[in-house]
Amino acid sequence: MRVELRLAGAGGQGLITAGIILAEACAKYTDLNVAQTQSYGPESRGGASRADVIISSNEIDYPEVKAPDVLVVMTQEAADKYIPGVKDGGTVIVDTTYVKQLPEAQSKGFKVIEFPISGKARELGREIVANIVALGLLTEATGIVPNDAVMAGVLNRVPKGTEELNKQAFAAGVEAAKGL
């Protein structure tokens, strides 16, 4: 088993953190192997941001994602750029707050999960937790890493005083995935 996940959007949306939390939970609480990479802008500026996670029951040789099984897109730009590369039969999670139009599907028959991720986060109080909402969605939708492991990871990484908000955000994401 080798599953390739990708979270893509803009710098500042916290997708790298989300990717790391997922990967870390996977490392600590499962027997699976995991590798996480990300894209960097020129030195470190730049708008786009991308985090990749590979989870595998075997050794992970080639450490990069070539065709994600699961993709989360949180900007229109990311949607346009990455959706066409998703594996046949894969899953695409779309933040409908920002992604208004999906690129012409090349009939790869993948599953699309649409949810106003950022909007939900705003609703909860601060858009900054959109990444955690997305993480909830992703965790629940993939089902590879136990929800409580990821949740623990979230609480480990977020600033003091924001735990409650993040819990809610994660839960909202999980709910959304369940509901769909």
């Binding site: 996977c26 030195e43 470190s44 040789d61 450490p63």
Partner: protein, 382 residues
């Protein structure tokens, strides 16, 4: 919910973990992508174990401070990438000449010049060997995974201390920035080596003795402040450390410093052999590229092709012997994929001579070579 012993660690972080485990207590650096996390982690962690971090004014000063701290008896390290590695060359040569144990990390990015700072490359392989002026040997190690980044950092310190020499940890951006699940060895599992201290009284101490020390050609090293009052210079010097113009002494000393590395090839040269025994096509790959190569070899085997992988873990000194073994089996071809225009392939060709065709796969612009590219070369070769 049962937490296992594993952690998610970044390659660059693993270097700092390994270094501190090996005894690092002084880090001087200057930020540069994609090595910066090493400095950042060192800044955060060293003071908690009583060590010091300093961000110097540039890479030259960092290399200098590292030498100074090491002579004061403290295990020291710096980290950089291509442009900074170029700047360190003069003082790296000083460390070689003064036989100062230390570790220099180069997380390679695309060059030449500023190049593509966030993209991976393996373009400094030859520079690591030849970047400083004058005849000198260099030890360079190249990890292919986060766990190995940890282990080879420990190993780099051990070699630096045992051989009184700077050791280069030659990473690439892929491994530096990659986060992987790792289980770090416990303190007990690790062998930590320390430089040999002089066993003679100060008056008899020769810091550059020809024939003292556990390892032939590696003289014991006192620390500043211990009463040995010894002299270190970048000028060609005699056993006592003072400059000499005597060609015979000079020749002996320069040779000793070179040969303590070159004649210990056996001990220093580590490789990983993967399906080599009956391999008809041998891939020689290192660093991140070796991971694609491994995948390609596995895929080839699945398709019934007798492919194998020789992975140099030690890049310098060059793994001549392991390569000669490969040559002895007369494979149909040796394939050398590199994220550069072809660097380590040069000594590979030299060893293979006219007997074995050497095929190179090169990618320059910051993209990891894919398993498929290697696989198709393998297929073509059989």
């Amino acid at each position: 919910m049962a937490e296992n012993k594993a952690r998610l660690l970044q390659g660059n972080e693993a270097v700092v973990e390994g270094a501190i485990a090996a005894g690092l207590r002084f880090f001087a650096g200057y930020p540069i992508t994609p090595s910066t996390e090493i400095a950042e982690q060192a800044a955060a962690k060293l003071p908690t174990v009583g060590g010091k971090f300093i961000q110097m004014e540039d890479e030259i000063a960092s290399m200098a401070a590292v030498c100074g701290a090491s002579l004061a008896g403290v295990k020291s390290m710096t980290a950089t990438s291509g442009p900074g590695f170029s700047l360190k060359q003069e003082n790296l040569g000083f460390a070689v000449k003064g036989e100062i144990p230390c570790v220099v990390v180069n997380v390679q990015r695309v060059g030449p010049s500023t190049g593509m700072p966030t993209s991976p490359a393996q373009g400094d392989v030859m520079q690591a060997r030849w970047g400083s002026h004058g005849d000198h040997e260099i030890v360079a190690l190249c990890p292919s995974s986060v766990e190995e980044a940890f282990r080879l950092t420990v190993e780099a310190f051990n070699i630096a201390e045992e051989y009184r020499t700077p050791v280069i940890l030659l990473m690439d951006e892929v491994i530096g920035h990659l986060r992987e699940k790792v289980v770090l060895p416990s303190k007990e599992e690790l062998t930590i080596k320390h430089r040999e201290k002089p066993s003679v009284p100060p008056e008899q101490y020769k810091p550059f003795a020809m024939d003292q020390g556990r390892i032939p050609g590696v003289p014991p090293l006192a620390a500043y402040g211990e009463g040995y009052r010894f002299h270190v210079t970048g000028l060609t010097h005699g056993e006592d450390g003072f400059p000499t113009n005597n060609p015979a002494i000079a020749e002996k000393q320069i040779k000793r410093i070179n040969e303590k590395i070159s004649s210990n090839r056996k001990a220093l040269c580590k490789v990983e052999r993967f399906f080599l025994n009956d391999a008809e096509v041998v891939v020689v790959a290192y660093g991140a590229t070796a991971r694609s190569a491994r995948k390609a070899v596995k895929d080839a085997r699945e398709q019934g092709i007798k492919a194998g992988l020789l992975r140099p873990i030690t890049i310098w000194p060059f793994v001549e012997d392991a390569l000669s073994e490969v040559k002895a089996n007369l494979p149909k071809a040796v394939i050398v994929p590199e994220m550069n225009l072809g660097q380590l392939v040069l000594p590979v060709r030299r060893v293979m001579g006219d007997s074995v065709p050497v095929i190179q796969i090169n990618k320059l612009a910051g993209q990891l070579i894919e398993p498929e590219e290697i696989l198709s070369a393998i297929k073509e070769a059989v």
